[in-house]
């Protein structure tokens, strides 16, 4: 079925490529189907259906408390740590059920996360990046050296930090800390990267650097980000999903959502009329 769709898409893209470059639907890396989530009696997510295409940036937007961060935490099972949290429906990573067939620690290695506040561990920069690989059994110093350098390079912070790898990570500026956290997440070679408002605690220059970085990261990773900043979503995302009160109001190509939304609530939100 999917292969048939791919072929169809390929054929279509041959004809449509001239007008709409990259219009071929990318295969879904992650998907959620009929997802309902409860915190005790409170229902945080209502029947969410979304697909996250591979090597694209998907932005989740919506007013505070609409469930977008909750969804993000469901994707790598960080919600398991929240008491009284119950998940119904399915979360799929490459078609495998994240809650029934995959192991939570393995899932979290494959689906990395960067949080709102930079949270480097109180240890050296090197040890921060090496923490993940060490957790997964990489012991050899030579291997770790390579991983640390590559991860810091991928997070575009190697040149700034290469001379102070043994220094405590807490001495870095907020923007550097956040890029270190991205490097730390990349060090375990994830397939998907979740960004939970990862620039909201940063100054404009650091934000610009991280946005540029995200643009590069999607070459190799599937990126899903929560943002309060609609201009940011417009700048760097390929797909956008708009949330309201735990429901997906509208999801689709970012350009469409911002320029020609179908639902009037989406139009109001992206025009800044509420939220």
């Amino acid at each position: 079925m999917t292969s048939f769709l791919k072929e169809l898409a390929n054929e279509m893209s041959v004809t449509a490529a001239a007008e709409v470059p990259g219009a071929a639907p990318a295969p879904a890396k992650m998907a959620v189907e009929h997802l309902n989530l409860f915190y005790g009696d409170f229902q945080g997510l209502r029947d969410v259906n979304l697909t996250f295409p591979e090597n694209q940036v998907t932005a989740l937007i919506g007013p505070s408390g609409c469930g977008k961060s909750t969804l993000l935490k469901t994707l790598n099972r960080m919600n398991d740590l929240v008491e009284g949290c119950r998940v119904e429906g399915s979360v799929l990573l490459d078609g495998a059920d994240a809650y029934r067939t995959l192991d939570a620690t393995d899932l979290r290695r494959r689906v990395g996360m960067v949080f709102q506040q930079p949270n480097p561990f109180p240890m050296s920069i090197y040890d921060n990046v090496a923490f993940g690989p060490r957790s997964h059994g990489v012991r050899a110093k030579a291997d770790l050296d390579v991983i640390v350098e590559e991860s810091l390079r991928a997070a575009a912070i190697w040149d700034e930090l290469k001379d102070r790898l043994k220094k405590n990570a807490l001495g870095l500026s907020g923007g550097q800390q956040q890029r270190l956290c991205i490097a730390r997440a990349l060090a375990v070679q994830p397939e998907v990267l979740l960004l939970d408002e990862s620039t909201s605690a940063l100054d404009p220059i650091s934000t610009a650097k991280i946005e540029e970085l995200i643009g590069q990261l999607k070459e190799r990773y599937t990126v899903i980000m929560v943002t309060h900043n609609m201009l940011q979503a417009l700048r760097i995302s390929d797909k956008t999903a708009f949330f309201l009160l735990g429901e997906v109001v509208e999801a689709g190509d970012t350009d469409t959502i911002f320029s020609a939304p179908i639902d009037p609530r989406t139009a109001d939100y992206v025009a800044g009329r509420f939220g």
Binding site: M78, T105, F115, Q117, F121, F131, C181
Partner: protein
């Protein structure tokens, strides 16, 4: 809001009403002078209350100075008094290897104190820290079991030490058949300081931000690794604080040890008996001091002992602090 404000005004309300008719009958206009009058009143009120507040704040500042001075003075007086009485009595006789009723040497007691305290901590620290890690990191937060353990620990912390001594005597000395011994004493002390260590470790762990845990789990690390590498290192200074507190209680304890370790003034003979020296009776410095003071014949030597005890506690604290700093530095 404004009613509550008006009630506190000293200026009588009619003054506001009195000036309003002169300006017209319109309600809207009426509001204006009312506001002005209120503002005057407000200024007067602020001036009055700020004068009062200044006076109160000066008074409070002097009270805190006084409290700080009294505290420091009491401490200095106690330490000074002990030093004045004790230092002249510090003679080479007091540091003889063997205790006799002639030299009342404190050296055996000094050695016993160190051994006893280390033994008690060696038992209490792993259990206390482990229990705290379970309660904070593994148990469901706020579960009934956690609350029960917490309440129990708090209750145990408040129990007078002589009751621990009584328990130690009935259980370790009699029921276990260990007699008045180093082991009985150390076990009793361990039980006594266990809640202290557990509670301080718990507080230290709870003070570690959740973001460290999220970071660890988010990278696919298991719970054990997350706790051991991300959470515990940040909690070490707090845990060491608890250990210092526990050490102080061990070194200063008399009541519990009289019943469980006895008063024999000998160094436990690990050289001759090996591990069986654990069953030797011994007296710690605090017990030594107590017996000297009770006998009434060697009061000055008791003061000398307390000088040594004071120095020992200071040295142990300093050593712990250095250890804590070493750990901090190695993290950087």
């Amino acid at each position: 809001m404004s009613d509550g404000f008006n009630l506190r005004l000293r200026r009588p309300r009619p003054s506001v009403v009195a000036c309003s008719p002169t300006l017209g009958a319109l309600g809207a206009v009426n509001l204006m002078p009312a506001c002005f009058a209120k503002e005057d009143a407000l200024e007067a009120h602020i001036a009055r209350s700020s004068r009062r507040r200044r006076a109160v704040s000066v008074l409070l500042r002097w009270l805190t100075y006084a409290a700080a001075t009294v505290t420091a003075a009491v401490l200095l007086f106690v330490v000074g008094y002990i030093l004045v009485r004790g230092v002249p009595a510090l003679t080479p006789d007091l540091f003889q290897w063997e205790y006799t009723s002639e030299n009342v040497s404190l050296l055996p007691a000094l050695a016993s104190t160190v051994i006893m305290a280390l033994l008690a901590l060696a038992m209490a620290v792993p259990v206390g820290v482990g229990a705290a890690i379970y309660l904070v990191e593994y148990a469901r937060r706020g579960s009934r079991f956690v609350r029960l353990v917490r309440v129990t620990a708090e209750t145990l912390q408040g129990i007078p030490s002589i009751i621990y001594g009584l328990f130690g005597m009935l259980f370790f000395v009699t029921a276990c058949g260990w007699g008045l011994s180093l082991l009985s004493g150390a076990c009793t002390l361990a039980i006594m300081v266990l809640p202290v260590i557990m509670r301080t470790t718990e507080e230290a762990l709870m003070a570690v931000p959740d973001s460290y845990r999220e970071g660890g789990f988010g990278l696919g690390a298991g719970r054990l690794r997350t706790v051991a590498r991300c959470v515990l290192p940040s909690a070490v200074p707090g845990i060491l604080g608890g250990v210092i507190l526990a050490l102080g209680r061990c070194v200063g304890e008399v009541a519990a040890l009289l019943f469980t370790a006895g008063t024999v003034a000998q160094i436990p003979d690990f050289g001759g008996q090996g591990i069986f020296a654990l069953f030797d009776s011994c007296r710690t410095l605090a017990v030594h001091m107590y017996t000297l003071a009770c006998e009434g014949l060697h009061v000055n030597e008791a003061y000398a002992t307390s000088v040594v005890l004071l120095i020992l506690v200071l040295l142990l604290n300093a050593a712990m602090r250095v250890a804590a700093q070493k750990m901090e530095v190695s993290k950087k």
